[in-house]
Amino acid sequence: MTGSGAASGTAKGSTGWLIRAARLAGAELADIVITDGLITETAPPGRAVAAGRQVLDADQLIALPGLVDLHTHLREPGREDAETIESGTAAAALGGYTAVHAMANTEPAADTAGVVEQIWRLGRQAGRCDVQPVGAVTAGLAGRQLAELGAMADSAARVRVFSDDGRCVSDAALMRRALEYVKAFGGVIAQHAQEPRLTEGAQVNEGEISGRLGLAGWPAVAEEAVIARDCLLAAQVDSALHVCHVSTAGSVEIIRWAKSKGWRVTAEVTPHHLLLTEELAAGYDPVYKVNPPLRTAADVAALRAGLADGTIDCVATDHAPHPVEDKETEWAAAAFGMTGLETALRVVHAAMVETGLLDWAGVAERMSARPAVIGRLAAGHGSQLTPGSPASLVLYDPAARDQVDPAAHASRSRNSPFAGMVLPGRVTATFLRGNATVLDGKLAR
């Protein structure tokens, strides 16, 4: 085991921290000095002086820039039984996140300046993690007419990412208009790619498992056809497309092709699609029910390769909390979705680092720097741990290893597909602009 991450306050009420002997992005050891919310110095270990700051002995823990999630369902307003901004941001902090993008499928939907500002304010009050609202593309997520994208962009919430996530903007003309319209304020359309007619009643990946289980299939083509169309539309109008939760090998190929053309296409993959496969549906336990569905081992391999070579820009959790009663049902009646904030870094560790596909600098790029850029976040998120940068960072113990226990999660919901799995790593501490949100693996306040 490396350091406990336990902090020893030498001067209560001080504004700064001295983090001793952390491995910056998993590489060189350094002391990190934090003053007034900024990193003011990184020095060879033992060189920096506390000078009244609180000291945290990292003892070789990995220091990464604070993680940024492009795809979080915080459920508030409307489904506070599943998650609140308070509980969701606590879960985010415990997962090492310092910023999350709150998806728009709340009740009411985040389709007006008023709703996105409410979410943004609640996030500020929670204080543990920045909450950047995502705006709906269409009014009421109904797929018929554009929501007031400009009003959301101009609001205090400064919305730049727009998505009808959970519902695909399947109307090609509407998608084209959305892509065009957001160019006026540097926005991006994040598409949940799912051809609706090909996926009516769909429950699991279409293939051997769907046939055997007698569950309606969700074919890869329903994702890939929409991604291909959207890439072409983005090229046609020279706008920015972000592809949510890519789940198939074919999608990776299409995105690779679109990027080779120089088109403005980015993509994300979820932790669960990097680790889990469709066979888990065999017991009909809806904790494995998610949209897009878990796919095959070949898809998982292609997603990992795509994330490693940069075809897929980043990891996004699609953290989708649901109350127990929405999962303790027969498969078809259950809600789609899995929690993910508190396990994401550990899953990426298992799927990408332990397999040798990414080093920790690569993890920092894909879980912090790239999502911050794609999310058009204000300066400060995703920056490297260098003097002058905001002190938003996570300390991670790569040597820890234990079983995932959703009952111990800060999320209000328990629908983690990793329950009972042994995963590597532990988030030991998280700092948001110099404030500790997590210390010793627990919420700091």
């Binding site: 289980l213 007698g214 303790e328």
Partner: protein, 307 residues
């Protein structure tokens, strides 16, 4: 035997033969003046039917009663289920009543799997969504063996909506276990995309398959397929995949025609075929009771059934 019968794949070859042999013995009972055994006296069997299926429910009810079990029929209609009670709460209610076996028919694939996690008694799948219907497969195998004397090497052709058929899934698995050779015949739209991974062969041409068939089993065409663009029209389906007298003539002389019911006469099967001497459709119903008796007997009948 496993504690539950949820999938035909739960049955080993020995298990399946034990069910068929037991059913054969129990069938003798039907010819006696008192058609009742005391075997399951004091045991409770719940028929939990979330879908209307009078035929299957009556078959299980008769089977349980002939073994002297107490039978509780729990129909979703007009019950707490219709008022939004979850499957789990229904299961906990049955558990509190002390059900030794729950026979479940449900519109959702996998509902019996979920139920088995919530009750201590045995769960018998009486049809779940588009997944499986293992006692139907057992009664079909029983009927084939009675008519044709064997199952090993028997050539069985199953025709129709395989994609949505729980009868087809269970039959393919069970018949493979028992050594029969299964061919599925359907329009390509009504076969699962990964059907090549199933232990059977497939064909799009019914007339070509019939001369090589000892058994042909016609599946019901559900009303909702007729409007879902799975085929252009009922007439065209009937012409290409229906069994009429002309097609029946392509069968070897000894071959039998089966149908799990209820039939759409004039769609997948012509009336003169359904009523012909080759048809086993009425026998299948009678055999259903014997086979379901055997299943309940082996799952609940004491130590020898629970090894």
């Amino acid at each position: 035997m496993n504690r539950h019968l949820i999938s035909a794949a739960d049955l080993s070859r020995d298990d399946a033969l034990l069910v068929l042999d037991t059913a054969e013995e129990l069938a003798q009972l039907a010819e006696r003046p008192v058609r009742k055994l005391p075997t399951l006296r004091g045991r409770t069997v719940v028929n939990l039917f979330f879908e209307d299926s009078t035929r299957t429910r009556i078959s299980f009810e008769a089977a349980a009663k002939r073994l002297s079990a107490d039978v509780i029929n729990f129909s979703a209609k007009g019950s707490s289920v219709a008022k939004g009670e979850s499957l789990k709460d229904t299961a906990l209610t049955l558990e509190a009543m002390g059900a030794d076996a729950v026979v479940i028919r449900h519109g959702a694939s996998g509902a019996p799997h979920r139920l088995a996690g919530w009750v201590r008694g045995s769960v018998v799948n009486a049809g779940d969504g588009t997944h499986e219907h293992p006692t139907q497969a057992l009664l079909d195998a029983f009927t084939m063996r009675r008519r044709l004397g064997r199952l090993d090497g028997l050539r069985v052709t199953i025709v129709g909506d395989v994609l949505h058929s729980r009868v087809a899934r269970s039959n393919v698995l069970l018949l493979d276990t028992l050594g029969a050779e299964v061919t599925l015949v359907a329009p390509p739209t009504l076969l699962p995309v990964a059907v090549t991974s199933w232990p059977c062969t497939t064909s799009y041409d019914l007339s070509a398959a019939l001369p090589k068939s000892d058994v042909v089993m016609m599946l019901r065409v559900q009303q909702e397929r007729m409007t879902g663009s799975y085929f252009p029209s009922v007439r065209e389906y009937s012409r290409r995949y229906g069994l009429d007298a002309d097609r029946m003539a392509l069968l070897p002389e000894h071959a039998v025609v089966m149908h799990p019911g209820p039939m759409n006469r004039g769609v997948e099967i012509a009336a003169e075929v359904a009523d012909s001497v080759r048809s086993t459709i009425v026998e299948q119903v009678a055999n259903g009771v014997s086979v379901r008796m055997a299943v309940l007997y082996l799952l609940l009948g004491g130590a020898e059934g629970k090894q």
